[in-house]
């Protein structure tokens, strides 16, 4: 109903295939970005470092998972492993390459993750479905194990824990939550834009072709090998960068066991609940999975007037996630993003229904 499309006509394909073809959407997005940029001035440190920062980071990781699963249709349970690679790679780059710019280190760590991703993606050429899932589980376990066992990665820290260095960009130390938030925000936004470009371009079409009908994809001349490995590499890159930020902007002190298979599952859930094969879904899903426990707590506070025993809370959380997953898979396999999309279609046809 807020859409006034009459007169918004396109005279070039560039215009027609732009990310937000409708003026109203562009305005909305502009407002959103503005808000995202200014929120640190209103949000307190807790909100920034306990919710917004992890939300952005996990959204990025979910985006990576989504590229692989949602777009290229390759089931993966190992995203946490690739995060770990990113995190430790970043730590070591900064540790061992004196004066390396933070951003460069982050990108390099992403590339490391990508390489590992390619290695573990190789089986995807022969196998699919849960076979592939197991292969990715292998990566998950193997990576965490090796990071755990080879002390070099952790600079021989006796406790087996690394402490992320300062985030130095152009000589400025981004120490406060607010500054960290901005760093994360910028990186996430840029990578999201790139992902969107790939998704709506020939690259994305290749992924989806492989996902939807690989035989036909081959017949159109697409190389399954290149396409799948590409998806693995890019997906892992996003997870890697996410991992690096996870360590540097969120956890600060990290041990390999922080990147457990449970984390992988959570990321998987973010993608399913948020919406397979949509950029926006990654953000919605991450937000949902992240905020759910908090809502739960608030809920209990208001209902029982006291916070519940942590174990019960976590148990409930698990049940709710599980139920959500099943429900979404049954009723709206395309997740929250799809719901939003439907609402939008309604608004564009308002007052009609269809």
């Amino acid at each position: 109903m807020f859409y006034r499309e009459a007169g918004q006509f396109r005279t070039s394909y560039a215009q027609d295939s732009q990310i937000l073809p409708l003026r109203q959407d562009r305005v909305g997005m502009a407002v959103l970005l503005m808000a995202a940029a200014l929120v640190p001035f209103v949000a307190n440190a807790y909100w920034l470092s306990a919710i917004l920062i992890p939300w952005l980071i996990l959204s990025l990781v979910a985006l990576g998972q989504n590229i692989l699963m949602g777009y290229a249709g390759q089931l993966s349970l190992g995203s946490a492993g690739f995060m770990a690679v990113g995190a430790f790679a970043c730590y070591n780059f900064i540790l061992r390459v004196p004066g390396i710019p933070f951003i460069v280190a982050v990108i390099l760590s992403g590339i490391c993750a990508a390489l590992v991703g390619i290695a573990f993606g190789l089986p995807s050429l022969r196998i699919r479905g849960l076979y592939l899932a197991v292969a990715t589980l292998a990566s998950q376990f193997f990576i965490v194990w090796s990071l755990d066992k080879f002390a070099w990665f952790k600079n021989y820290d006796p406790a087996g824990v690394i402490t992320a260095q300062k985030i130095m960009i152009l000589g400025h130390d981004f120490a406060s939550p607010r500054e960290k938030y901005w760093v994360v925000l910028v990186i996430v936004l840029v990578l999201t834009l790139l992902a969107k470009n790939m998704a709506r371009g020939s690259v994305g079409r290749g992924w989806m072709a492989v996902r939807d009908m690989d035989v036909a994809a081959e017949v159109t001349g697409l190389s399954l090998l290149r396409t799948k490995l590409q998806a693995f590499a890019i997906s892992s890159f996003y997870c890697g960068v996410g991992g690096a930020l996870f360590a540097f902007a969120y956890l600060q002190t990290v041990e390999p066991s922080a990147f457990t298979i449970e984390l992988s599952f959570r990321i998987l859930f973010m993608v399913i609940i948020g919406g397979l094969g949509t950029i926006m879904g990654s953000f919605l899903g991450a937000g949902f999975i992240l905020l759910m426990p908090i809502f739960l707590n608030v809920f209990f506070h208001t209902v029982f007037g006291k916070s519940v025993d942590a174990s019960i809370a976590s148990a409930l959380e698990q049940i709710i996630f599980g139920v959500m997953i099943i429900t979404f898979l049954i009723y709206e396999p395309l997740g929250l993003a799809r719901l939003w999309q439907l609402t939008k279609e309604r608004l564009r046809l308002w007052p009609f229904r269809h």
Binding site: L194, A209, D212, M213, V215, A216, V219, T220, G277
Partner: protein, 281 residues
Amino acid sequence: MNISTVLQSSPLQSNVLQSSQRAFPIGAPILELESISLRFGGVKALTDISFNVLEHEVRAIIGPNGAGKSSMLNVINGVYVPQEGTISLRGERLAGMTPTAAANLGISRTFQNIALFKGMSVLANIMAGRALRAHATFLEVALQLPRARREETESREAAEEIIEFLEIEHIRKTPVSRLPYGLQKRVELGRALAAEPKILLLDEPMAGMNIEEKQDMCRFILDVNDHYGTTMVLIEHDMGVVMDISDRVVVLDYGKKIGDGTPDEVRANQDVIDAYLGVAH
């Protein structure tokens, strides 16, 4: 059932056949298959089949169900590799064909039971058909560098030309999964065309269509042949339609070739008649 109903030709109008001359006159053999044999384990799918396809012609492969028509097509574009026999394109022998290789050689195809990319719009499906012509790397695409943008526009233009050609402007941005069967078939033809193939393999393009849809599809096939000069190899078991639109027909039965020639010759061929009367409809 009597012979006439089986082999009779439908009253389909086709300008190409009426017209005195064609835009792309039929040329030399472009595709030659020599004594092709294909087995799955013990099962013989194709036995010693040889025929050729001339440039710019519409070549039909017909035969009762299970005659090995689809296998034949799958051999041509490298989905199956025959145990014996050779395929040569413009006289060059092709060894170890794969679908991708076939695509690179300008062989494109559609599938018997629609193999569209369900999750994508009509436009995206057709653009995806141009995978071969997308050279920009993922980085160029991600950063929207000039080459990526140029290629995107080019493939959009090509896709739009096809959309116009197939008269599906009104469903351009509809997800293919929402389309009725007949339109999906048309879109699949569009995707195959997007690769700008030299040879187009159509696996039962009219299966399960009503008569109007069939006539539309025939018109499109003939128009493609007339407009782009694409060489067509199509499988069909609705004899009537095939007889109308194809220049020459190969007849298979139980994996063996039992007839080859112009529609009229084939109609007259006793083996063919028997084969068709043999199958109970």
